[in-house]
Symmetry: none
Subunit: 416 residues, 2 copies
């Protein structure tokens, strides 16, 4: 079963609003096993909207339209559906009463153009709008269906939940189940190089996605009646893990910071942070996880040498001899964070995020990460590329990964 | 001049990611006077992508494509452009060298498929990628142009800024000049209510945009030959400021943290931070500004009472009597940060970000911000709504705004 989304609204084409409706509908269609090949955004223009709808009905079984249900002349989605399906518009008395009640309840005057919201292509299934004045509708003809929904996201989601979801589930011929594996420590092309042959499978499929520093592999299975999603997804999951090993840090789509907080809780361990180049980014990520306060005792953002000495007990001699960006300073920062807070682990970062501050000996992108705890201190040296934002983000991710590796008793050295 | 956007990526059609690229490009095209009638999203499928591109070139002068530039077999945007334009693919030696350098600098292995990223339709203007390995390109033929950009938003925006912006401006038949006013401390609908009548103007136009906690007003003027952008934009700017006063914190599109760092530098003042509920977010924002190390002496993330006492000198009696989330604790945190670091200002935040931890007396969303310096300490009490992420972000913005107000000698009380 194929579907298509048409988002209607000039404000979308002017970039004034973000099209979150399209993402929501796409995700739901995928979950019900519909193949979505196209999503089109078009403005409030009758000719262009009719053209898009004709094209969509020519290549898809179900077309979802969002937006253009308001009371103004600009709003013409139902009229376009009526024109393309060759159906007259007719008044829906129930909708008319509801719109009248809506205005009466708010003590507001109803204008004649609000009645346009009670007009539908003949034979429509009318979908009441619990969050606003514009009802939607489902129109069927010649084996094709158009589902017309309002544009404001809270109205669209509510109407979809109440009325469109059941319709789509009933009409669907398959169920789709996805599993997300997240990988840290290897670039997208290297990951793909190692799993390329697995990407040719039809069911389940395997697809890589990349963001700064992380690669995600999505396994998607089409599950027929009587089939088990696990039976389809488990063998492929195992094969990927056998190739990428502990670079795969989750099969449950957790972020590194979520995993780190969970592992600290499960191990009943606490953490203290000492950040220089990342300036609080690691603390910010960790405290973004609800309940982080149970495991993060404190963090220090120590940019200056004075702060490193006063707050973390770094020796002046160490700073003089090796500099603030050095293995030795990173060690003393991590140990200072751990010892002064009483935490089980101290994690530190010191480096040169740029754009200024680099030298030939210590270039922009040189970062040291240290993890103190369990009687030892491990230091990792990174040479990162990219701009300030990338260097800071990558440093934070490497630090979280180092913590994960320690908590899972995995090798701390990860250079390939 | 008409334009069209084609967003390429099966992950978009599965609803896995939000298409923020399309909004960004739509807004920029509008600012340069292009008419955008269609935006289409299509998956990683050669036939369907070629079909969309043919249709787009048939009805638009310029087609912007985003996504599908990665090193994998799934990435086929350049190949589709080459097929539809009837141009062979050829190796760009400069891109090849850059990709090799990218991998060498990171001490990572370059796989053969990375070389695909150095292949372009013959005659392309190659657009270097400062944020990743995938260069983009501009391809022109028979009066039509395709601009191929990477999918990850930070790469797309950077490449657009450096290379596509100038190309589009030159090609446009209108010169469009924009000015961005940023507003903190008032919601979008209230801002809109106060400037609504100004939004009816044709030249310059005024359009509001909202993100978490901030409202942006974009003034856009279409400037004819011999006209001055300033003469068009200045009166409208003055009118907006006369209505919104010091809620307008910049007419130069600076972020609050950029403004705060600049003001600290200009006033030769230093800052220390003490964060509880924001967990390093303020530090992270400030240190995201290059050169922040000159003004930020240090930051402390003090979640626990123990850390508040040890790191910031908060009195045990204060914590016992008033609690960690109180005006008194906020004051002592700010003063402690200032005094122990020797900074001119100490800025603190303590509150309940949720989802847990709230009580009837101290509900989720209660946040105190304190600013110590210049012989006094000012405390602001906030009652914020929304989820954990919103409460943390709003708290950080209020703290930065408080600092701005102090440094500009503006009233610190801002309740309307």
């Amino acid at each position: 079963m194929t579907a298509e989304i048409i988002s209607v609204g000039t404000e979308l084409l002017l970039g004034q609003i973000l099209n979150s409706d399209a993402q929501y509908l796409a995700r739901e269609l995928s979950a019900y096993g519909y193949n979505l090949y196209y999503q089109v955004t078009v403005g409030d223009n009758m000719d262009r909207l009719c053209q898009c709808l004709k094209t969509a009905l020519g290549r898809s079984d179900v077309v979802l339209l969002s937006g253009g249900l308001g009371p103004t002349e600009d709003d013409m989605t139902k009229e376009a559906v009526s024109a393309v399906f060759g159906l007259e518009m007719e008044l829906d008395e129930a909708s008319k009463s509801e719109i009248q009640c809506f205005f009466a309840a708010r003590n507001r005057e109803m204008t004649p153009n609000n009645l346009r919201q009670a007009m539908f292509p003949k034979g429509s299934i009318v979908l009441p709008n619990a969050r606003g004045t514009a009802p939607g509708c489902i129109v069927e003809k010649d084996g094709k269906a158009a589902i017309v929904l309002p544009g404001p996201p809270h109205e669209l989601i509510d109407m979809f939940d109440r009325h469109a979801r059941g319709y789509l589930a009933k009409k669907s011929d398959a169920k789709i189940v996805s599993r997300v594996l997240r990988i840290f420590g290897m670039g997208e092309s290297s990951v793909e190089h190692r799993v390329r042959d697995l990407m040719d499978g039809a069911n389940p499929t395997l697809a890589p996605y990349a963001s700064v520093g992380e690669v995600t592999l999505r396994l998607t299975a089409k599950v027929g009646a009587g089939e088990s999603a696990g039976a389809l997804l488990d063998p492929l999951t195992d094969e990927v893990i056998s190739r990428l090993g502990d670079l795969v840090y989750t099969t449950a789509n957790e972020k590194l910071e979520e995993l780190a907080v969970r592992l600290l809780k499960e191990n009943a361990k606490t953490l203290a942070l000492a950040e220089s180049c990342t300036g609080g980014l690691v603390a910010e990520k960790i405290t973004d996880v609800p309940g982080a306060s149970e495991v993060l005792l404190e963090g220090v953002v120590a940019y200056s040498n004075a702060a490193k000495m006063r707050r973390l007990g770094v020796n002046e001699a160490t700073l003089e001899q090796f500099g603030a960006v050095s293995e030795q300073t990173a060690s003393e920062m991590a140990e200072g964070a751990k010892n002064s807070s009483g935490a089980d682990y101290g994690l530190s970062l010191t480096g040169i995020a740029g754009p200024g501050g680099g030298t030939a000996e210590k270039p922009v992108g040189l970062v040291y990460i240290a993890l103190a705890g369990g009687g030892e201190t491990f230091v990792k040296k990174l040479r990162l590329g990219g701009d300030r934002a990338r260097i800071r983000t990558m440093s934070a991710l490497y630090a979280l990964d180092l913590l994960r590796r320690r908590l899972c008793s995995l090798p701390l050295e990860t250079d390939k």
